[in-house]
């Protein structure tokens, strides 16, 4: 079976700026891949090259077994980061127009599908409304429908959650899972790494135009063992006593407060299950749990070589959370 995407040694520059360098990537059909990385990392450029909107300066690229996405555009659903609608067009007409551009036949079947999808995303009465009458969030859901209406084999979503409220974020997450369960290959990019953690079974981390991580989520989790124990003293008024007690536990390197939570960092080579037992016994605790490194931590470790100070890490984390897009 052909892979959904194959990239070998792909390079893309814009004048003197190298946007993507030496990108090797294989995405099997039916997988749910997350592209993560900060602003300007090269995620959107990679996606645009996959979509044949941009063309690589060097390297090879195959999409759904074809030499370029141009030959298989009708089998791809694409939600770009820079997305929009025809403001004066009616929602139903817009969706039908996009579906027909993707090779869908016109007729009552298409109308039925448009109406079904609008109902599914909670907008059953908007078919005859102009796109400009919808809120930004509603427009975003309509745009998602335009990607899936023609039942593509490959779905590429660039920052699909940006601008959505939590309720619609959950709805979109469920719809993406549904598409994946229907056997479609899904690739989505995000700078919010927790979203990728929740949804993907495979992560591709991009930094400065280069792939720095390309592994299944399970592999990443097993490779990056817990580095500390989060704990919450039972008696809030006796926190200092609890801190002193935990600091004295063998195998604990330091105790610090991170994002409002208390964390006991482990010495290298300490068995996490033993550490959690000892911390729980050191003082009365309301909760104790292992702190597994998230993708954010892993990203920071990779880009800093693991040598960043606590302050530098905090700054990097804050920077990652502030950013809103990609280049």
């Amino acid at each position: 079976m052909d892979h959904a995407i194959e990239m070998t040694g792909v390079r893309k520059t814009f004048g003197p700026k190298v946007a993507v360098e030496g990108m090797d990537l294989v995405i099997p059909q039916g997988s749910l891949h997350g592209f993560i990385g900060p602003n300007g990392a090269g995620k959107s450029t990679t996606i645009r090259m996959i979509m044949s909107i941009l063309f690589p300066d060097r390297g090879e690229l195959k999409v759904l077994g074809k030499r370029s996405a141009v030959e298989s555009k009708d089998r791809i659903g694409y939600l770009p980061e820079e997305r929009g609608v025809y403001k004066k067009m009616k929602v139903g007409a817009f969706l039908a127009h996009m579906a027909r551009l993707k090779g869908h036949d016109a007729g009552s079947e298409l109308t039925r599908k448009v109406n079904d999808w609008l109902e599914k995303i909670g907008l059953p009465d908007v078919s005859r409304k102009k796109c400009e009458e919808l809120s930004k969030g509603m427009q975003q859901k309509v745009q998602f429908v335009s990607c899936v209406l023609h039942e593509p084999d490959l779905l590429i979503l660039d920052e699909p959650f940006s601008g959505l409220d939590p309720v619609n974020m959950r709805l979109l997450r469920d719809l993406i899972r549904e598409q994946h369960e229907a056997g479609r290959t899904v690739i989505f990019s995000t700078h919010v790494m927790s979203q990728a953690e929740q949804l993907c079974d495979h992560i591709v981390m991009i930094h400065n135009g280069q792939k720095v991580l390309d592994d299944p989520v399970q592999t990443i989790r097993s490779r990056h063992k817990p580095e500390g124990v989060w704990f919450e003293p039972y008696h809030a008024d006796r926190e200092q006593e609890a801190l002193a007690a935990v600091t004295g536990v063998p195998g604990i390197a330091e105790v610090r407060r991170v994002d409002g939570r208390l964390e006991a960092r482990l010495d290298a080579g300490v068995e996490p299950s033993e550490a959690i037992r000892l911390v729980a016994q050191a003082a009365p605790m309301a909760s104790v749990e292992l702190h597994r490194p998230g993708l954010e931590d892993i990203f920071i470790n990779i880009v800093t070589g693991g040598s960043a100070s606590a302050d530098d890490r905090a700054q990097l984390r804050a920077a990652l959370r502030d950013i809103g897009g990609d280049a």
Binding site: S52, I53, V70, K73, Y78, P80, R83, Y86, H97, L101
Partner: protein, 466 residues
Amino acid sequence: MSKVMRIAGREFASTALTKGFIIGALVVPAVILAIIPLVGILAASAKPPAVSGRILVIDRSGEVLGPLSERLSEESIRERRQEAVRRAGEFAAGALGGMGSQLTGSTEKALEQIPVPRFTLESLGPDADIEQAKGRIRAQLNAEGDIAPEDRVLAVIEIDADAVVRSSDADAFGQWQPFFRPKLNSEAVDEIEAAVAWSIRERRYAVAGMDREAIRELDSVQQRAAQEITEKGEQDDTSGLTSLVVPVAAMLLILVATFTGGQYLLTTTIEEKSSRVVEVLLSAVSPMELMTGKILGQMGVGLSLLIIYNAIGIVALIAFSVTGVVSWQLVLAFLVYFVLAYFMFASMMAAIGAAVNDLREAQSLMTPVMLFSMVPYFFFMPVIRSPNSTLSTTLSFIPPISPFIMIMRIATPEPVPGWQIAVSILINLLGVMTLLWFAAKVFRVGLLMYGKPPNLRTLIKWVRMA
């Protein structure tokens, strides 16, 4: 191809099936056509105020007052007006055929509404003081409201003693000079000046012993309306139409249709780019398909305009019984040169639309395009007068202005050599291909470029990049 046609279809529908377009293309011309006769009626009903008053005459020659009084009488002025309209009608009928006769009819009716001035001549005698006479106008200027209209002094006319009979020691006749009150109606001024000149001339003929009627008869050369001999018989001469109206109208129609389509193309491209819908489209079609679809869609808009306006023109010609002015060869040339002109200008518009972020930024890049569009205006007179001159021939081979020049030349009665038509089409085809190639490159890169608007150097860089 079906995707290109789908893009074209949406482009056409989103432009031509909107209220704005329908109002602009159909309702506005219809309203203008409806307003023209209304303006005539309104103009006729808004009668200019009747001019009446005194003319003080110091006729030092003692010869002119008599004929001048007769010439400026109400009856005489009315007769002359009617005669002028009759002559203008004969001329119009000769130049414009049936259309001219109808125009004359409506002009006559309009002229009837204009009141005839009423002048009262007051002779001050041959020895009167000119300063005193002028003083009477001055005195009235400060007391306008107290003076009855018929007592207002409109002018003072001073005629030299030798204006009619030359002095034996002079090389030329004497002169005459009018003095008018300020802001006197210009028609009244013309009427007075023409009457004095006519009266002096009449007296000179008489003194010289010449029969003025005989001279007038000798001067008057009557011509019957010119006729064109065609295969089907004879018809009113249409050379005025074919050598002037049709070439200019053809050039203007192509210009309007080209620029309307091009302007809409620019607007919709900028709109798609600024609303960020363009990347969604590019996931379904290639940039070339998108650009081609848009260009074809807007060509449909331009063609619709051409069909509408041509139909109106042809109906008008039929209504005025003018036939044989528009041949099928001209219609064919019209279509060919429209398509060539449109593709060249549309390519430029598409490239500009893709390169900029909003209409304001497009203005600086539009300047060279607009300059090209002005060239046919600058040269239409020399081209129409001499369709086969070196200037006309040279301009015919310079795209993108060539189609506008060629259609004017082809529309004139003077035949254009066939090889020039063939060469101009070939050169324009090359122009179309070059500009499409350039536009496709800029379109592909520009569509996804946001931020600082590009200049010409950046556009050339994009072309190399794409």
